[in-house]
């Protein structure tokens, strides 16, 4: 019998989740290895990205293959404001979110009426267009040289620290935010509408569900969260360029995290990131790094295995976390 979807907050989960959060937050105090901290931050970062993408890709079933563009909007807006006007990154995230929201709104109006492969292709094109525009307008964006935030010593205002601990907390906080938004949508009326739309658009429409508006809202929310993560990427990596933040490889990584973990679930992207990021690190270590080549091969093998054996994602190995599926 399918489990019943819960519209009220499930208090039974609060205590374990709280303990988990405490454990995660105290972990860096026990860890002095900067490298390990950065791996964990990467895990949180990609889990959050996957979670944000999931809102439009998993819940609504609209596979956006150009989501890196929204990372770029956040990263570049925050970066340029910081570099030219000394706007602190935690304030610069807001204009980035606005830019992402506006672009997502118009993009949605344009492409969300398309189905299947046409939607995928047009979002793919959108991602590439953004990357190429960032490359082209060198006077504004720095072109292929990108934007570098030089480390000028410890500066709380600009979120610059000698260690990674603050970044660790910020990335964890962003992950919690994305999962919270994702979970709220999942359990709300909008979540039901999205599920119906993903299932059978014609039937959903004949039930009075406003298709365009619902899908568009999902895309805008997803874009806003993704752009915030772009802002974080800037302060974490201190260097951005069009390829790094708007490249196709990033879009693919985001989707992989969500799909491998479990499309349309709250915890899926977390599991996906916990699987993919360490595997990537290990493969870089063992096979000698490089963006192309070995890592792509590993991605491909994992993706094919998951699609063949666990098409609903690795989260199906942990049924308790799969939580509330359809009513």
């Amino acid at each position: 019998m399918p489990a019943q979807r819960d519209s009220k907050f499930n208090w039974a989960w609060t205590v374990p989740l709280f303990l988990l959060a405490v454990a995660v937050l105290t972990l860096p105090l026990l860890m002095s290895q900067r490298y390990l901290l950065r791996v964990l931050i990467n895990i949180f970062f990609f889990a959050a990205l996957g979670s944000a993408w999931n809102i439009i890709g998993g819940y609504a079933g609209q596979l956006s293959l150009g989501h890196a563009a929204f990372v770029a909007f956040g990263a570049y807006t925050t970066g340029l404001l910081l570099f030219h006007y000394n706007v602190p990154p935690w304030a610069g995230v807001l204009p980035g979110a606005i830019v992402a929201a506006v672009v997502a709104y118009f993009l949605g109006k344009l492409v969300l009426r398309l189905r299947g492969p046409y939607l995928a292709l047009s979002t793919l094109a959108f991602g590439e267009i953004v990357r190429i525009l960032l490359l082209h307008f060198t006077e504004v964006t720095g072109g292929p040289l990108g934007v570098t935030i030089p480390f000028t010593g410890r500066n709380v205002w600009r979120l610059q620290f000698a260690t990674e601990h603050v970044n660790y907390c910020i990335s964890f906080g962003l992950l919690v935010l994305c999962m919270f938004v994702s979970s709220r949508i999942h359990n709300s009326r909008m979540g039901y509408y999205l599920q119906a739309i993903k299932e059978n658009q014609e039937a959903a429409e004949s039930l009075g569900i406003p298709l365009a508006r619902t899908k568009n809202l999902a895309l805008v929310i997803s874009a806003i969260l993704t752009s915030a993560l772009g802002g974080f990427y800037l302060i974490f990596m201190t260097y951005i360029d069009p390829y790094a933040v708007a490249g196709i490889h990033l879009s693919i990584e985001i989707i992989l995290v969500a799909i491998i973990g479990g499309l349309g679930t709250v915890w899926g992207p977390v599991i996906g990131a916990c699987t993919l990021v360490p595997l990537m690190e290990i493969s870089n270590f063992v096979l000698g790094g490089g963006r192309a080549g070995a890592s792509m091969l590993i991605y491909a093998v994992i993706l094919i295995s998951v699609v063949l054996f666990r098409p609903k994602g690795l989260i199906t190995l942990l049924p308790k976390l799969e939580g509330y599926r359809s009513e």
Binding site: M1, P2, R5, S7, K8, F9, R184, I185, N187, S188, R189, M190, Y192, Y193, Q195, A196, E199, N200, E202, A203, A204, E205, S206, L207, G208, I209, P210, L211, R213, T214, L217, S326, E327
Partner: protein
Amino acid sequence: MDVDLLVPIEPQGAMVMESTAHDNGNILELHHLRKVFGGLAAVDDVSFHIARGEIIGLIGPNGAGKSTIVNLIMGGHKADGGTIMFNGENIVNCRTDEVVRRGIARTFQVENPLLNMTARGNVMIGAMPHNPNRDDAMAEAEEIVERLGLGRVAHHLATNLTVQDRKRLELARTLATRPSLLLLDECMAGLTRAEIDQTLDLLRQFQAEGLSMLVIEHVMQAVMNISDRVIVLDYGKVICGGRPDDVVHDPKVIEAYLGKRGYARAAAAES
């Protein structure tokens, strides 16, 4: 805490419309409706009306344009001409979800449920626009499901239901949207005699509660039994309209169904 991220919109069709100065008692009026696909006029200058509380049967050979008319009313197709007046307002080219919110609902010729949701879930989604609270929507869905005899299969996935249950589910989903006009597209296809009778009883109940209906059917006894008036479509044009008895004996109608030769044969057999 149920976060409602969409502005809830009160449906207008659920309430009986106040009589305006122009209200002539018709819930739906089609005036010179036209729809062309390529070179073919699927709907060609069609005009008829449905009075409030009436059940209109829409019959005609396959390909006559009956489903196209339903799609035009529901906003699935863009009309190439004409108006569709619902409660005095022209709804031609309104978006489908808006049409549903105003109070028109349709069933599909080939049942079109949300397959991976339960029967009750399907109905609940329809009830959600009026019920921001999920529990209220669930309660309304349960009521409708019970009423239409789907109680024992409420928790079954729609993909596992029998044909009759699926047809009932189509009806249940429409009721969840609180319509004042129902467009039923061959809702009795594939049903046994007993099941047809049950469905007819249900439709009469709906009519008694004030629902108006447009019933597209090929099951002739059903249409004649339930309709107050019958309209006959052929090649996109209205060829006849009136009381069921008058229509069924109209030579044009017989010719449309049986063809010229068939009509001649039938006439010869009679004499």
